[in-house]
């Protein structure tokens, strides 16, 4: 029965991916952009888990666990970089971060 629902899960994962990508393009706060990245990664996770359940094998589940772990590391680094940025110029907006041009 779950196997029949794989398309619904995939549709949801596609929607999440688009929300994440759109947010990353449109929003200007680095923190919100970081959250959008997380949404994108979770969209991929959902697709992996749905496929794994549908196909009945384990690789997708294992991949998801590893992605969650990596995403945690990525967030830790991302927040550190954002803190560094705030400390330097109180930048709540990535459009203000524009010293490098050419």
């Amino acid at each position: 029965m779950i196997g029949d629902m794989v398309q619904a899960y995939l549709a949801l994962s596609g929607i999440l991916f688009v929300i994440g990508a759109a947010g990353l393009m449109l929003r200007r706060s680095p923190l919100v952009m970081l959250m959008c990245v997380e949404i994108m990664l979770n969209a991929a996770n959902l697709a992996f888990v749905a496929f794994a359940r549908h196909l009945g094998n384990m690789e997708g589940h294992i991949f998801t666990f590893l992605v969650i772990t990596v995403a945690a590391a990525e967030v830790a680094i991302g927040l550190a970089i954002i803190v560094l940025l705030f400390r330097e110029r109180d930048a709540a907006d990535v459009d203000d971060v524009n010293t490098l041009r050419g």
Binding site: L10, S13, F17, G20, A21, L24, P30, M33, L34, V37, M40, L41, A43, A44, A47, F48, A50, F51, A52, H54, L55, N57, E59, G60, I62, F63, L66, V67, V70, A73, E74, I77, G78, A80, I81, I82, L84, L85, E88, R89, V94, V97, N98, T99, L100, R101, G102
Partner: protein, 471 residues
Amino acid sequence: MQQYSLLLPEIILAGLGLLLLALDLTVSSKRTLAVAGVIGTLATLAAVVANFGAPATEIWSGTIRVDAFAQYFKLIFAVILGLVFLFSGEYLERREVKVGEFYILVTFATLGAFLMASSLELITIYIGLELMTISSYVLAGMLRNDARSSEASIKFFLMGALTSGVILYGLSLLYGLTGSTHLAEIAAGLAASPNASLITAAGVFIIAGFGFKIAAVPFHMWAPDTYEGAPTPVSAFLITASEAAGFAALLRILLVGLAPALPQWQAVLAVIAFVTMTFGNVTAIVQTRTKRMLAYSAIAQAGYVLVGVAVATPESVSAMLFYLMVYAFSTIGAFAVVIMLSNHVPSEEIEDFKGLARRAPAFALSMAFLLLSLIGVPPTGGFFGKLSLYRAAVDGGMVWLALAMVLNSAISVPYYFNVIRNMYLAEGPSTALGARPGLKIALGISVAATLLLGVFPEPLVGLLRTLHIMP
């Protein structure tokens, strides 16, 4: 036990990272760390070379694959790491970067690149990719007193995170289509699968994702900012090792995993290659800052290498592998000169090269030679590399792309010569400049390798002929 001997390069490199971590806490002289790093890299190199003759083997349920293709890329990465250890010290101390952390992170980033090259398993490739990029985000932001460095870091981070999301989504589609995360099984599954639209979607995600990684146009916008703002040794590492690792993974995924769907991508890849080299070269002409110029030059060079992917014949792959090796040496050497100069003149403008021929004749001569290699003038390795790429493109039926490469080499002459003109013809300050022995050794190795690959390319070409990407 044989498994461990095949994994020895990675084990040594991981051990080196941990050793540096311990040394950083206990030893006060940071030069000790660089020496330990160079020794560790030499040990890694020895382990890589020792594994070269071994037949292709997959260990640990196919998660790690040790074959000549992987060993060749590991050779490139290890050489780059060693040169970075050699030439970074003085720059890092002058800019008050935490030297120990830099060495540790660059070691782990190289370990990630090793893993990316040595697997046909998507999970390992993904983990290697993330290990490399997450270390690189931190490296790019290591100049803590410089606002440009944190800007480089945040831009690199946001684009890099987007990239991994896009790649991951493409990988999940591949997995869903075939039920496997192993590229050989994916290829078999795709050949049997009728779902052409999902295969195309997976291809789009993967090419776009790795396009970001190798800074191909139109996915390049982060690259000039990141390469300009990051500490110069980090820029050198990213432009060479990170890009080569991206190409290693892209080659494996496209030429092994997506092989059944490859013909429909070749035209797209050829257009991307053409746009990338043209855009990089044209934009580089108007740059006034050294690192930014080299960043656009790196984009153009990525375009040349992409020609090898687009043509996708065994000849074109071995031509691009040769070119990647030459490119690594030429670029790292050029960066060694840039680092030497910025140790004395921190502004890093192209104008700073004025009068370098009198201030440091050996450095100026080396720089001129390496730039000639990047243009592709004989007797440098760059000439031979471009010639074989050109020949592979013609043989592969993409004559227009070969012509575009030749035209692009001509377009690239002005901005490389601008540096040479500044060094030799312009008047500048006359104080002599020097550098530490490590930097001189790194520059010497780069120049010697570029020259050797140009004069005696045969041994490497012969080696590349025996090297197969397919399982």
